[in-house]
């Protein structure tokens, strides 16, 4: 057992941190701005080989580990970068690569192809043909990926309007699902149950990593605020009531990071079902922790955190949106209970 980042991981982290700093979100975008704002960051991701980075090299990707992916996602989220890394650089190319569509993956990696994900209307996972869906994390994407009834990969052109979603750093577009039964099928071969489990594991993990980044930035911001803010003639950061809230946030953050590292390692190292269970663990813990941490951060900032001008609400929005995406805490706890306790017959469960 050796749970440490190595020098290469540190290099990925540093590269991502620099990129994120260059493209950090400084003010909350308006509805118009958020649909438009990520072009520079996308080129920068392409130039650092972060596009399609987890897809295998023989499928047009960069062959990086899921841990590398998670470290990049964390750094981008820590600066609230409004760039669709999760869906378009990682999860979309993953689906394409698992279906043997290396040319499309190479198109993503080169920056010429922009492909997002279609999620079901409850945001639980990849949509099925014919069901209500949204194009998730789809800024500048032309197409969204989904599965047909036989688990074959399909896509459709995104034409709908941007929805007024909570997250100000992500674009979600409406999809007209009624006519989607005759979508162009990309692959003739169905994704196997193992491939779907491995995809789920990567999806839960990269979202957990994004949440860790948001939490880190929420803690940093709150700590530097209470170090400066004075009341009663002293810095409020000297008050124990304030310190204990900050400490609780730090504990949630580090527990989340520990879970997320393990889930990221598991994506590439464990059998698909075990990897998915590890990722559910991380997604469940990070979801609970993230809500607590952004709320603590708001509390420590006081009234300024309720203004549009301050970035606190952008963190809250990004966190709550990701908590609800790809299954919230409760959804994952139910699935974990099924895995560990055995499933219960439907009539007993309700």
């Amino acid at each position: 057992m050796d749970v440490r980042l190595n020098d290469e991981h540190a290099l990925v982290q540093q590269t991502a941190a620099r990129l994120a700093a260059d493209h950090a979100l400084l003010v909350a975008p308006t509805d118009h701005e958020r649909a438009e704002s990520d072009d520079g960051a996308w080129s920068a991701l392409r130039d650092t080989d972060f596009l399609a980075m987890h897809a295998p090299e023989d499928q047009g990707g960069a062959g990086a580990s899921a841990l590398d992916v998670a470290l990049v996602a964390e750094q981008l989220a820590a600066r609230l970068c409004p760039v669709p890394f999760v869906a378009q650089a990682i999860l979309g190319p993953e689906l394409l690569a698992l279906s043997g569509l290396g040319e499309l993956v190479a198109g993503v990696a080169s920056g010429s192809q922009r492909v997002a994900l279609a999620l079901d209307a409850n945001l639980n996972g990849i949509a099925r043909v014919g069901e209500p869906a949204v194009a998730w994390d789809s800024a500048h994407a032309t197409h969204a990926l989904l599965l047909d009834e036989a688990d074959r990969l399909c896509w459709f052109e995104i034409t709908g309007d941007a929805l007024p979603v909570l997250d100000r750093t992500r674009v979600v577009r409406a999809i007209d699902a009624s006519g989607s039964v005759n979508l162009p099928r990309l692959a003739d071969v169905a994704m196997s149950a193992d491939d779907r489990a491995r995809f789920d594991a990567l999806a839960y993990t990269v979202i957990a990593a994004d949440l860790v980044g948001v939490m880190a930035s929420a803690v940093d911001s709150a700590v530097s605020y209470v170090r400066d803010r004075e009341q009663f003639g002293v810095v409020v950061g000297t008050f124990q009531a304030v310190q204990h809230l900050a400490a609780d946030a730090a504990v949630f953050l580090e527990g989340s990071r520990s879970s997320m590292w393990h889930a990221a390692w598991a994506v590439d190292a464990l059998a698909p079902n075990e990897a998915r269970l590890a990722a559910r663990q991380a997604k469940a813990y990070c979801s609970r922790a993230a809500r607590q941490v952004v709320e603590i951060s708001v509390q420590l900032h006081g009234g300024i955190a309720i203004t549009w001008e301050h970035l606190a609400h952008v963190r809250v929005r990004r966190a709550l949106f990701l908590v609800a995406s790809f299954g919230d805490e409760r959804a994952h706890l139910r699935a974990i209970a099924d895995a560990r306790l055995g499933e219960v017959p439907a009539e007993v469960a309700h």
């Binding site: 057992m1 204990h244 400490a247 663990q281 974990i336």
Partner: protein, 380 residues
């Protein structure tokens, strides 16, 4: 990055398991305190003779010089098997290794590592719990003609584990009086058969008596028994606390996992009926325990480069508290009537989960440490 055993670790774990299968005590621990102490002592002697102690301790001082991972594996396996834990000597052996003279190391380390000499740790006092540096047990250095100097020790210690059976005590006391509180403390190695020392067992709320109060009345301790320099006691104590974390936490984590696994097994078999919300609560306890374990593994990894444990260990302790107390509630909730119809079904574990946020630095002290020493917030 790898959470699995490497080849050497896997071989070590396999050898340990087969050794445990042959040597683990067949009977459960006795409930009588003296019998239980003897039971644990025999177990510790067996572990020492089997070559399972001092795994990460330096070779030159009688250890095996392996990485901390081997301590973690040992603690994990004992916890998973529900066997008594290793002797809690890690902080004492490291204190003597880091601060003792060569003579003190030669005199004390072999007995500690072989478990033939039992030690206790005298830190807390009735009026010095969280505010440890205010402690009042005092030693006055006295020169007597024709014999080596001694410290005359007076005062009272509390929560001293296994004091009744120990032959030696690592005692934190005040020996310097014209300096600020922290700087007046020293560390003295005290033979427990010194005239003027009296132990009174403390009966815990679930009926055990492994703790004691220790009273010192004009007890004469050779000045040569001082560990480090006069006034260095606080620095030594602070460095030692870090050794309570890391691999040591792995053992407690495994014990909590065992409790949860036993509950899950009864649910899975249908013996225990649970509601959908109780199923979610059980899953939630598993998530929390996994987070704790994964964090302890990460903390252990961070120390592989040889860094001494630092204030980040308080995060581990707080995660431990969260997991232990959540599990304590889930056990009570899922067992329902069974937990209250039998005094030992759940209550001892529950009491320990509440003690978790009190001993070894309270939850509040740990939060202070995280806020001030990890996050860098100013002292009040």
């Amino acid at each position: 990055m790898d959470y699995r055993d490497n080849a050497d670790e896997a071989q070590f774990r396999a050898e340990l398991r087969s050794w445990l299968a042959e040597h683990a005590p067949a009977d459960p621990p006795p409930r009588d305190a003296d019998e239980r102490m003897e039971y644990n002592h025999q177990w510790h002697l067996a572990l020492a003779q089997g070559g399972w102690l001092g795994l990460s301790f330096p070779v030159e001082y009688g250890g095996q010089g392996r990485s901390l991972i081997y301590d973690a594996i040992l603690n994990d396996e004992l916890g998973v098997a529900g066997l008594p834990s290793v002797p809690a000597i890690n902080h004492i052996t490291n204190a003597i290794r880091l601060f003792g003279t060569e003579e003190q190391k030669r005199a004390h380390l072999p007995g500690l590592l072989s478990c033939t000499v039992l030690w206790c740790q005298g830190f807390s006092e009735p009026n010095a719990g969280s505010d440890l540096s205010s402690l009042r047990t005092r030693g006055v250095r006295v020169a007597e003609a024709g014999s080596p100097d001694v410290y005359r020790v007076d005062g009272q210690k509390i929560w001293t584990s296994e004091a009744v059976w120990a032959q030696w005590c690592l005692l934190l006391l005040r020996t310097e009086f014209d300096v600020p509180a922290h700087r007046g403390l020293s560390m003295l190695m005290v033979p427990m058969d010194t005239p003027g020392i009296e132990c009174r067992p403390i009966v815990t709320s679930y009926g055990s008596s492994e703790f004691a109060e220790v009273f010192f009345t004009d007890a004469a301790v050779p000045a040569a028994n001082m560990l480090g320099q006069p006034g260095q006691g606080w620095a030594i104590a602070m460095q030692l606390l870090g050794f309570e974390r890391g691999p040591a936490d792995m053992g407690w984590t495994a014990r909590l996992e065992r409790t949860l696994t036993m509950l899950e097994t009864r649910v899975r078999s249908g013996e225990l009926a649970v509601s959908p919300s109780q199923r979610e609560a059980l899953a939630g306890a598993w998530v929390e325990l996994q987070t704790l374990k994964l964090h302890v593994q990460r903390s252990t990894g961070a120390r592989l480069d040889g860094h001494a444990p630092g204030p980040e260990g308080s995060i581990d302790k707080l995660l431990m508290t969260n997991a232990d107390q959540l599990l304590g509630h889930v056990v009570l909730d899922v067992l329902g009537a069974e937990a209250v119809l039998d005094d030992v079904a759940a209550f001892p574990g529950y009491v320990w989960s509440r003690a978790q946020s009190i001993f070894g630095g309270t939850q509040q002290i740990q939060r202070n440490i995280v806020a001030q020493r990890v996050l860098g917030l100013p002292r009040p």
